[in-house]
């Protein structure tokens, strides 16, 4: 079970969180024209990298904040966690 550092609550067990997918995906702006291709890429196309991956988790049984987690998908090592408003390099 992973041990995830919520930027608001500290280190908490994985079972308090729910996974939210790739954090680098950006939703096209509301009320703006978007091409079919860009929209489909946003909705459906995801990379599945082996190695470092920046992803979203929600501290669902805690502060309910969505957070960013940089994790190695092969080893589960977590390098960094951040608020969604912060950048992970």
């Amino acid at each position: 079970m992973l041990y995830i550092k919520c930027p608001y609550c500290g280190l908490r067990a994985q079972k308090e969180f729910s996974y939210g997918g790739d954090a680098t995906v950006k939703r096209p702006n509301i009320n703006e024209e978007v091409s079919r291709e860009d929209w489909d890429n946003f909705v459906y196309m995801r990379k599945s990298p082996r190695g470092k991956h920046i992803e979203l988790w929600q501290h669902i049984a805690g502060c309910r904040q969505w957070i960013k987690v940089q994790r190695d998908t092969a080893t589960h090592e977590i390098f960094q966690t951040a608020k969604v408003t912060e950048e992970i390099r």
Partner: protein, 998 residues
């Protein structure tokens, strides 16, 4: 009754307390502190089981987790458990143990014929022998294998025992209380670290209990006791015996299995049987020790053959002799300690040492005590079927592959030692790639992957001095990094006997024309020839050899067999072991009970139960409940001998004719506040929200980004910047997360807050033509006329003195209202409604009637919004704004969503107007068509229309719009039904929606 193999004084058992038990029906006794194994050996019993494949007689081989043979069906404390390791299970009064894998009995086993038919059971026999004819598998092969080769019987009774889970955090977890573990724990404890020390055996000390050593002039055992006593007195230390750390998971989480009360005769009601510990450790010391490995020789599985360290442990811990004419067969010094221990107890051993004439501290001591030592010797084959009687021994030539002399000598046990294998299982589980250490012919941990440090024998250091030194150093350094305190500890003086070099010898050759079985893996009956066959047949990868031969795949995980198997493969392949590699270690290290994994999460505790504030009233009024997620909802209120169908029909009919009330507390409720709330709702919902006035509700539909309907519900504008959203019961949690996602990540510029208020409000729906009359009695001071409180209107008013919210919304399609009060007032509200409603014919109705009412109105719910439908599929395209953007809008333009023949919601009625259509039925053109019969759609919801008094269903059907008036078949192979149906509109009752506005 005497115990012929029990020593008079030696051992740590309590001779003052006799414990009686039975083995295969025979009444025996042992002492407090015995294991089943030690008690049986004390009674001279060695034949305890039959082997898995050949049903060969088997006896004890080890004294702990390494035991491959002695797995019993054990009955104690009123339950029956299979595969209990007899060398680990402590004796308790009244325990009854039975051999497994033998039929009809361990002494006479018909399966033993397999031993004489062994040409049929070579490596891969499952794959080869039972392949054909195929029809034989279920009726002949499988029952035969099951009966002849089962490993015990699982109980089918409900497990009455209590199991617990515990979550713990510590600075340092130490796994094993041998010398290096004790030293690590002690040093870390002295630095102020929070320490957990786990020992799988009942007694602490590991090899200190059996090795002839002294530390600071104390015996190993006394020193261990001193350290443990001190550790137990420290508030920052948890010391646990009977606790096996069996799994090493991500981010330094380890799982430990504690046998809390299996060894107790009596326990209090709430004492758990076993406990599972989830331990998050900042650092872990793996002081798991090592396991002796055997030397392979002919008939090396005969009862009476032991690992030499096990023989020593039986003497020193249990005061039991494994035999009185022992033959010690070794390639190293450690077995000399066993020989000396025999000698001390006036038993004369003979030592066969594969090394040429040899001298070391231990060997010299054995020589000086006059023990018969024969160098360059080994056991070729053990004689005796159910017990060792003699051994054919050979003097090896210099090539170690042929014999100078062969003779037979009498013996009643053979104690074998092929040197030591570090227990690297936990290190391997942590992700550590092991490395081969040629000095000890075994794998040891390599670079650490997590926060784990292996010390002592687990790390390949086999001297006490080194183990203690490593233990103290690592315990101190690792903990000092955490506590930032370093207490100096002087490393104690150690007195131990020095070992000479071991012989790299692991398998006895056979003389010409002799071919006894030489087992590598006892538990799975894998012999040298099986591995040879696998290699001959082309298997090369050790993982393939493992699976083909089943080497190391039994419950003992190959603890005594893995390295010998690897040696064999590398010898035949002319490779060295590191090139062959090792197979993967996986948790659990030792088998654990299913009960422990499950813990308290059974029955009532399986998941939380959510009850509405009116639950007790429902219970008192014969509600039959249905699970809605964790909620309990009344499905119907049973009157007299009514069944579900009759009751729900009565309740639904009463709503259509009079008035009914329904507990709708379980609906998800979300409070939405902030100056941008309207803009937010406008983006979340498909329809327009910017112009909803205060005091009005609106039905809303929300999509996922892929255009699929996510949820529906009403949202009411309570005040300027305050909205009250309702969701379906099932989607409440998802919708909240969904809203939070957009507010926190996508549109953080919107000044809006959302919070769940589901538990804060109790809700009741009042529905039916007489609902307004009833409402006016509930709120005598309020104008509830159609003008004052129109459809989708909202009011706040006092309900008999308590604040309440009134929403004029309807799920049933009737004139209806929903009243919310604070949860604490829920029961009061409900009882008042029941009282006031009497004169209007009010009756409570459950979810079944609720479904009936919405289905015949054509209102969609979960079964239609099933994660596959877009708004136009379920006739909700009127709610989809063309002017504004919203979540999922761009997806609605996708080609497949807009084809003419796209699926649509329709209504179905049976042609005979009688047959109910099972939900989930497939709609087909021709019920007799050849399979696969093309599916045109499926039935999503079914009811008995109380309005029209015949069955009615909703269905999602391809090209549904154009199917109205046509006839099809609804077939349900599950219910074995095929019903001819006609397609009609999904709005079966009041298609214009007049009633809700009346």
């Amino acid at each position: 009754m005497s115990q012929p193999f029990r020593l008079n004084k030696e051992g740590l058992i309590n001779r003052n307390k006799k414990i009686s038990f039975t083995f295969n029906g025979k009444k025996l006794f042992g002492y407090e502190g015995d294991t089943i194994a030690s008690a049986l050996i004390a009674n001279g019993i060695h034949l305890v089981g039959r082997s898995f494949k050949y049903h060969r007689p088997r006896g004890f081989f080890g004294a702990g987790v390494e035991e491959p043979n002695a797995k019993f069906q054990v009955e104690f404390n009123g339950h029956s458990e299979p595969n209990v390791n007899a060398t680990e299970m402590e004796l308790v009064e009244g325990l009854s143990a039975t051999s497994q894998n033998c039929w009809p009995s361990v002494n006479f086993d018909v399966g033993a014929i397999n031993n004489f038919l062994k040409m049929f059971f070579p490596a891969g026999f499952y794959y080869k022998t039972f392949m054909w004819p195929k029809s034989f598998w279920y009726k002949i092969y499988e029952p035969f294998i099951r009966k002849a080769a089962g490993l015990g019987v699982a109980s089918i009774e409900k497990d009455k025992e209590r199991y617990e889970h515990k979550f713990e955090y510590c600075d340092l977890l130490v796994t094993g209380s041998g010398p290096s573990g004790l030293a690590s724990a002690y040093a870390a404890a002295k630095n102020g670290a929070k320490v957990i020390l786990a020992e799988d055996k009942p007694r602490f000390g590991g090899t200190l209990l059996t090795d002839d050593v002294s530390i600071d002039n104390l015996s190993g055992k006394d020193w261990a006791e001193k350290i443990i006593t001190e550790l137990k007195s420290m508030p920052n230390v948890t010391v646990k015996n009977r606790s096996q750390v069996f799994g090493y998971y991500d981010h330094n989480m380890l799982v430990m299995f504690e046998r809390v009360s299996d060894h107790l005769e009596k326990k209090s009601k709430f004492t758990p049987r076993q406990r599972l510990w989830y331990i998050r450790a900042k650092e872990t010391i793996l002081s798991t020790g090592s396991i002796e490995r055997p030397i392979v020789f002919g008939n090396n599985d005969t009862p009476g053959i032991f690992l030499s360290a096990a023989a020593k442990e039986y003497m020193k811990v249990y005061g039991v002799l494994v035999g009185k004419k022992p033959l010690i067969f070794t390639n190293n010094d450690s077995a000399y300690e066993t020989a000396l221990e025999f000698k001390k107890n006036n038993v004369e051993p003979i030592i066969l040492d594969t090394r040429e004439e040899h001298s070391s501290e231990l060997v010299d001591e054995a020589k000086s005590k006059g023990i018969d030592i024969r160098f360059s010797h080994g056991v070729i084959v053990a004689n005796g079927y159910k017990k060792v009687k003699s051994a054919k021994i050979g003097k090896l030539n210099k090539d170690k592959n042929s014999f100078e002399k062969i003779e037979t000598i009498d013996c009643d046990c053979i104690c074998v030692s092929g040197f030591w294998t570090p227990s690297v299982h936990l290190a391997s589980q942590s992700g550590n790639k092991l490395k081969y250490e040629e000095k000890i012919d075994a794998f040891i941990p390599d670079k650490k992957k997590q926060h784990e440090t292996s010390v002592g024998a687990a790390n390949g250091s086999f001297t006490l001095e080194e183990s203690l030194k490593h233990g103290f150093e690592n315990g101190s350094n690792l903990s000092a990094k955490i506590t930032e305190t370093k207490t100096e500890i002087s490393i104690p003086n150690v007195n131990e006997k020095k070992y000479g070099a071991h012989d790299k010898f692991w398998c006895m050759p056979l003389p010409k024309n002799e071919n006894p079985k030489r087992f590598v893996d006892f538990q799975n009956d894998v012999s040298v020839s099986d591995i040879e066959i696998a290699l001959r047949e082309g298997y090369r990868s050790i993982e393939h050899v493992k699976r083909y031969t089943t080497l190391g795949m039994a419950t003992d995980q190959g603890r005594t067999s893995n390295l010998n198997g690897l040696q064999l493969v590398s010898n035949i392949e002319n490779k060295i072991v590191p090139e062959v590699g090792h197979t993967t270690f996986r948790p659990p290290f030792t088998p654990i009970t299913i009960g422990t994994i499950v813990g308290r999460e059974v029955g009532m505790e399986y998941m939380p139960t959510r009850k509405t504030p009116m639950h007790e009233w429902h219970e008192k009024n014969n509600a039959v409940f249905v699970d809605a997620g964790a909620w309990k909802r009344p499905r119907y209120y049973k009157q007299g001998s009514e069944n579900l169908f009759e009751a729900s029909k009565r309740e639904a009919k009463n709503v259509r004719e009079n008035v009914g009330i329904c507990d709708v507390t379980t609906l998800g409720k979300i409070d939405i506040k902030g100056p941008d709330a309207a803009e937010f709702l406008n983006r979340v919902y498909t329809n327009a929200w910017m112009k909803l006035p205060v005091g009005k509700a609106r039905y809303g539909l929300m999509l996922r980004e892929d255009g699929i309907v996510m949820d529906d519900g009403t949202t009411t504008r309570i005040s300027e910047n305050h909205y009250h959203m309702t969701t379906t019961t099932a989607q409440a949690a998802n919708v909240l997360s969904h809203l939070e996602y957009y507010l926190q990540i996508v549109w953080p510029e919107l000044n809006v807050n959302v919070v769940s208020t589901t538990e804060q409000w109790a809700g009741a729906a009042i529905a039916g033509p007489k609902s307004r009359d009833m409402l006016s009695k509930l709120y005598p001071d309020l104008d509830v006329s159609n003008d004052a409180l129109p459809f989708m209107g909202y009011k706040e008013a006092e309900f008999f003195g308590v604040p309440s919210r009134i929403f004029r919304i309807s799920f049933s399609g009737e004139l209806a209202y929903e009243i919310n009060v604070k949860s604490d007032h829920g029961m009061f509200m409900w009882e008042k409604m029941m009282e006031v409603g009497k004169e209007f014919g009010n009756q409570p109705y459950g979810t079944e009637a609720l479904s009936t009412l919405r289905i015949e109105m054509g209102h969609v719910a979960g079964p239609e919004l099933d994660g596959r439908t877009i708004p136009s599929d379920v006739s909700l395209n009127g709610l989809v704004s063309k002017k504004k953007d919203f979540i999922g809008k761009n997806s609605l333009g996708r080609e497949a969503f807009n084809v003419e023949s796209r699926q649509k919601i329709v209504g179905l009625i049976p042609i005979d107007r009688k047959s109910s259509i099972p939900e989930g039925s497939h709609i087909v053109q021709d019920q007799n068509a050849k399979l696969p019969n093309p599916k045109l759609g499926h039935v999503s919801s079914s009811c008995w229309s109380v309005e029209n008094n015949n069955p009615f269903s909703l269905a999602i059907m391809k090209d549904g719009k154009n199917m109205i008036g046509k006839k099809f078949f609804a077939v349900s192979p599950l219910k074995n039904k095929s019903i001819e149906v006609e397609v009609i509109s999904s709005h079966y009752v009041d298609p214009e929606g007049k009633r809700v506005r009346s």
